[in-house]
Subunit: 453 residues, 2 copies
């Protein structure tokens, strides 16, 4: 006999978890729609050629690969089998992988369907992604991303719009957040000014760890990566810089005066700040020079959002990418987008008790089953309630009333309806309020009214 | 340069396709909720031990297997590599597979979570499934199932409820359907009466093909499967039987009088017919003695639904299974459920033009971008519209008006708002109706009213 289980790092979602998750997804979708974004979906499986090389070496290792179907061994030579290492053999017996994020499939989608798309293309996408990461608290091998992107427009109004979307989502969910932003061009400008322009990835990767490994940790990592002491010294004030947005901008104006890219980044940041002054948000918003974001396809603005109350890491992040579709043959299409992490948002909302009471769906009423003789009026009532989308059910078995009530109770069904001989004669329903225990007799019209309140 | 493509048998869904699909999913969910069913979700990947052997030999071959991550070749001997055939080697390098349907994961879920579940457990599940089938028109390797089941109750009221659910879904979608039903016990009774009780699977499999290969085809297949001529002769009238439900029931009363199981099936069918007389449905409903349904876990009632207008095969089907959870160690838990095929329903609705006009979501209004100077009032209007969930957008670039209008046009945005120097002075918005081309000036309150109409 098998003892049933699921693969590590994956989860089942019960009705109660689903109701919380759907509350989050529905809120996010509502906001996306209110800003004119429309949904697309892409397949769970993509060709490995689409995925490989897009997430760095580490990412390639974390792809779940699908074994070719049929007689996959057929074309393999003895040499293939014995002499290839696992990745090499893997690539011979697997052509497809599960999607790792929604951004690369989106870029693939845009290129593949470019002739059907009206640009600027505003799309959102809410689907699971899979990563063969080591499972740990809050990190899963299957999790949902909620991506919203606009592609085909360079306007910084898009960056502003995304900040507004982030603010709208978290306001509606009742979460207090800090939205941090930066610009990759500024980071590049800083690194260029330090004379290390060729080491953009290494240095940003180290800076990106500031929160995780701390100030000293980053300095150590920079030295280990071969940066000279005087260069590390010049990074120190940037890592530690405090002050308001204006203070930071003034400092950078001076620091970046010889870097064209850095200057361009500053202009972009200032424009975004200007839009946010004209049309502000309710969240805290902070220009953070040390925000780096790991993914290398970002080329302009970058964003990261955290809860102010619970330190669980980033709950939303993204940025502008100037050439994501270039890898699939469509050049010069700039896009910007952010991705909401539904799992962490769920955890925070649960911990802070932010789900609205009664958001867990259940039937509004359960009718007691007194046996065949008494079913006809109940059928009629059920049809009428359901046609008004009032969730209602009939206990399927004519068992003891106590058992039926206990079912209603454990499913949080607020009302129980009873239709026996007397009720049928009088055309009434006995309604029991499961919270107070009170019972009363009423006709169907009154019952329906009660249930829609 | 890669030419982007997706694996064969999989699909991208554009915003317009998504809007039709979501219309179907939302309708189905609405009905499920109105009957008191709640959603669960299970992981895309299941352990192969959970999946293998549940769908017959053919099904095992159609499972998509996930290559073990990391150094999967590590534990393999030279003999493993060279002497195993593909399935044997596959089972050594793969422990997980993509789910093939929602029923087996549901059974696994019920057993795994039995201590948290209140029985009878009414759940629905809408998720994609994957099968390495040969792709063809209307058959995909990734497709969505919408399953609704109640488990932990033997009552035939559940069967009746499912017929009501089917009827409700297709009524709301505007589709004319025929719901055919039968009972596996009757099929077993017939085969038992013929003295072939040991060949249930073979004979039902042959009968199941009646629509596909026709009357003569089934007879031929039965002979080929080794049935004697006089037995085949006795099946003939059953395959050809015409008449109303009462006629069929009378015929079977006689035919099955010596089969206990057959009699039990008849009692069940009569009870269901009785419920459907007390509480009828709008769809055509037909007791079909030849309906068999391929899957072997069915033990009682079976259902199949077809469109009356478009012959595309089954669009919904299911039945009762008395021991599905038994394979995972939980005995004596009977369940019944049906599954809606969203893809075929979509195809039919598209062909018959059944999607309600305007169901394709788009922004209700797009504001023209006249440049930085004129943005502030537009920001204000957008905030107010969006807070009322009125989808609205601002064209992100201050390009020629013609280009902006052409974008609104191709996205079917019904109204375009213009706020220039005069409008700002007067506190008005010039609104262009994109259908009629008419323009008028109005204040924001009037605009909002217009857009909510």
């Amino acid at each position: 006999m098998q003892k049933p289980s699921i693969p590590k790092g994956t989860r089942d979602f019960s009705p109660s978890e689903m109701s919380g998750r759907n509350y989050i997804f529905d809120t996010i979708k509502e906001v996306f729609h209110s800003f004119g974004y429309l949904p697309i979906e892409t397949p769970a499986m993509e060709n490995l050629a689409t995925l490989l090389g897009k997430y760095g070496e580490e990412g390639d290792k974390l792809l779940f690969k699908i074994l070719n179907s049929g007689d996959f061994k057929n074309n393999l030579s003895e040499r293939d089998l014995l002499e290839s290492n696992s990745p090499a053999l893997g690539s011979k017996i697997s052509e497809k992988g599960l999607r790792y994020d929604l951004t690369v499939p989106f870029a693939r989608y845009v290129v593949q369907h470019r002739n059907e798309i009206t640009f600027p293309f505003k799309r959102y996408q809410i689907q699971p992604v899979w990563r063969a990461d080591r499972p740990q608290k809050g990190r899963y091998r299957e999790f949902f991303q909620c991506d919203v992107d606009v592609i085909g427009s360079n306007s910084l109004l898009n960056e502003h719009e995304l900040v507004k979307i982030i603010d709208n989502v978290f306001s509606r969910l009742g979460m207090d957040t800090v939205i941090r932003f930066n610009n990759r061009k500024i980071l590049f400008g800083i690194i260029e000014t330090l004379g290390e322009g060729g080491r953009m990835t290494e240095i940003t990767t180290a800076i990106d760890k500031l929160e995780k490994i701390g100030y000293e940790g980053v300095l150590k990592e920079l030295s280990e990566r071969g940066l000279q002491e005087h260069t590390v010294d010049r990074i120190k004030p940037i890592l530690k810089f405090e002050g308001d947005n204006t203070g930071k901008l003034n400092y950078l104006d001076e620091f970046l005066k010889s870097s064209e890219t850095g200057q361009a980044g500053l202009i972009e940041i200032k424009q975004l700040v200007n839009y946010l002054e004209k049309d502000p948000v309710t969240a805290d918003i902070e220009f953070d020079i040390t925000l780096a974001r790991g993914l290398n396809y970002y080329t302009g603005a970058i964003f990261e959002v955290k809860s102010k109350k619970i330190d669980i890491g980033s709950i939303c992040g993204g940025g502008r990418y100037d050439d994501l579709t270039g890898i699939f043959g469509l050049e010069d299409v700039s896009g910007v987008g952010v991705s909401f992490g539904a799992d962490r948002i769920y955890d925070i909302m649960l911990q802070l008790n932010l789900f609205p009471p009664g958001s867990e769906a259940s039937s509004k009423i359960m009718f007691v089953n007194f046996g065949e003789t008494y079913l006809s009026p109940v059928f009629k009532y059920l049809n009428q309630l359901r046609s008004q989308n009032i969730s209602s059910e009939l206990y399927p078995d004519a068992v003891k009333i106590k058992k039926q009530l206990s079912y209603a109770n454990s499913k949080n069904i607020p009302y129980v309806g009873m239709v026996g001989e007397d009720e049928i004669k009088e055309g009434l329903i006995t309604l029991k309020d499961m919270k107070t225990g009170e019972q009363e007799s009423l006709n169907f019209a009154k019952l329906a009214e009660r249930l829609t309140r």
